[in-house]
Symmetry: C2
């Protein structure tokens, strides 16, 4: 069902990164469900995490470990989220970190754990621990596609992105993978995203860039408005490209990095939407003409979350009245409905609080037919804007989520 | 598909009220789509309306007329919402009022217009005007059921409620009808609700009671989180019961009225949920243990709106982790997840931030099996609470809303 999602790209070696995968049999047989990233010594590692108060045990440990030691391994499992598991969840997450630390001879704080899958069931520690040696045994620089497959849950396709850029005679690479298809309304992070570059960059600069770019990528997508308990996005800079370490976001190299990094992050975020549960459309909701940016963001998310708008998108039905009704209830202070304008895929649909004089139903049908829909809603009040990406709401979404556990 | 929705009750005469219905052929043939309420001279009339900025033309006119003259007629059409129709929408709504005023000899301000149906299409004035004489010709005190049917759109059943109470030797009646099944997340009003009593009551007192009780009934239901452009709820007190006019909400008779009026309003609000588009469950979401009531309200609505919770309800799947995940993202200040408790239909499911020690999956399955689900979420922080009523999210919902116009 994925909408315009391309094949997983050919990702070359990112110097300083090796990846291993294994089958632990956590939930399903014959599924790679444990992925280990090995990071070279001295790599800068930044992270952003879910803002959900019920954040999962691995998220809590990750946040703690990230500040304590140079991170050397990312340990990821699917099939079980280790969320809603209380105190024992923290213990089981820590046990898997200890096992990997013992196998590799690093400190337990050098391990960052990640889990995704069913909420509320005890993490099967023994299965994960047993799978660690085999994941370590196949550590390799070319395992990016296997890692993309290994972190999938309800995803139908693995998601990856790669960019290279040159600066001052050196070539830099940025590669990443992501996963997620439902419970997608990230807040400061996504389901799971891992982006690695060979650039040398101070960890504080990397953290600051990650936080900014997440707000233009993973924090602007929504499938079903539900923020996960396990959202995590990690950026790694291995420092193997040969540059003098970037120590300020104002350096020209940092700016060049941000451009390529944003492309990778947006491609990975869009991939999650394109593979959204039951998606038949990839929808860009752009709100312009706001007085303050947060109004544009709010209206865009309200449109993107409306079940009535989403089912109309599924039906390719130009039911623009539903979009205006959402704008009207979004709580924009000082909204003058007579100045609102709506374009869908280039067709002017509504203006002055009503249907555009030249609008014909056949225009609407033509506008709504493609898989890629671009909605531009002009509030007519100011110059601020924002963009959110989402999907439609189909029978398949209900089927997937009514049958996920059973 | 309606869940536990009883037959339309036998509603006796409410003195001072007559109802007429007619077929105008607005959208479908052989469908009663125009309803007229005739109110006796001197009746007190109160109203609450949608807070949607894109409120429909009839809502604007209704609000204006309500303050200008003694209201004598309610003119309701289905099949067309006259919303998103700009300035010409106001003109067409006014034309229907003028036609009814001319037929009955009252002032145009004594007419309150209401429309419900498709948004964004011009109101077919001529058809409505042509139907007015035949609606007036069958004005009768026993037409409550016909009125309930006449205001239906995607509703599968008409919705009515009746209560009588005695006070100080006099008998009072309160009767009402409502409609609505989708785009249901009223804010200060519902889709359409009309409640009439024979009590004599000052209009300011009636307005104040209506506003309060709406917040315990129509403003606490949600089907799909979308607030309509046309929500209107009207209360009428004809003054025919024989009592001295109630002039203060503190009078014992006012208090007795509030009890019965609340029952009618809640029954009508619940009926909308029970007939929610595609509903297979009637779900009561009760949040207790909040520090401030608005936190309880917020959490209850977030649970009630979550597509993941709603699809789990559809599947009768005790996927309680999804409920905790919603609570965690709801933005309750100072939330301590280790104090949260969750009961479903009397079974303790979660406590201390995780699954209850005694919980077994079969308890969850048993708890989720009935059509009526009562969720009690204890935040463990204070003593405030609130209740919201909602439905599950089924294939039928998608079908109805993907096919509504086409």
């Amino acid at each position: 069902m994925a909408v315009g999602l391309h094949d997983f790209p050919l990702i070359p070696e990112i110097k300083g990164i090796r990846i291993g995968v294994a089958e632990a049999g956590i939930k399903k047989p014959n599924k790679k469900d444990v992925v280990i990233f090995e990071l070279c010594e001295g790599a800068s590692v930044a992270g952003v995490f879910t803002q959900n108060a019920f954040c999962a045990a691995p998220v809590r440990i990750c946040q703690k470990h990230l500040g304590l030691a140079g991170s050397r391994y990312l340990l990821i499992n699917t099939g079980n989220a280790n969320a809603g598991t209380g105190k024992s969840g923290l213990e089981t997450a820590l046990k898997t970190c200890e096992a990997l630390a013992n196998e590799t001879g690093v400190s337990v704080e050098a391990i960052l754990p990640f889990s995704t899958g069913v909420i509320g069931e005890p993490l099967p520690v023994a299965k994960i621990v047993a799978a660690i040696p085999s994941a370590l045994a196949n550590l390799s620089a070319d395992n990016w596609r296997s890692a993309g497959v290994g972190i999938m849950t309800t995803d139908t396709l693995p998601k990856g992105s790669i960019r290279t850029f040159e600066f001052d005679g050196l070539t830099y690479s940025i590669a990443g993978i992501s996963k997620g298809a439902g419970m997608i309304r990230p807040n400061m992070a996504t389901m799971l995203g891992y982006v690695c570059s060979d650039i040398a960059m101070d960890v504080d600069v990397l953290q600051s860039i990650l936080k900014d770019v997440v707000n233009k990528s993973f924090n602007r997508i929504t499938v079903d408005s539900d923020t996960s308990t396990n959202d995590s996005c990690i950026a790694v800079a291995t420092g193997m490209a040969g540059n003098t370490k970037v120590t300020s976001v104002d350096e020209p190299l940092a700016q060049a990095f941000i451009v390529a990094f944003t492309e990778v992050m947006q491609e990975l975020a869009h991939a999650i939407v394109r593979d959204g549960e039951g998606a038949t459309k990839f929808v860009t909701v752009e709100v312009v003409g706001a007085v303050i940016e947060s109004d544009a963001t709010k209206v865009a998310f309200e449109i993107a979350h409306s079940p009535l708008v989403k089912t109309a998108l599924f039906a390719s039905d130009p039911n623009w009245g539903r979009i205006l009704a959402v704008v009207g209830r979004a709580g924009v202070e000082g909204l003058d409905v007579d100045r609102v304008q709506l374009h869908i895929n280039g067709f002017e649909v509504a203006r002055d609080g009503g249907r555009s004089p030249d609008y014909l139903e056949e225009h609407g049908k033509q506008a709504m037919a493609p898989q890629e829909i671009h909605i531009v809603l002009d509030l007519g009040m100011g110059v601020e804007s924002d963009i959110v990406w989402t999907t439609d709401f189909s029978h398949e979404y209900v089927t997937i989520n009514a049958e996920y556990r059973t």
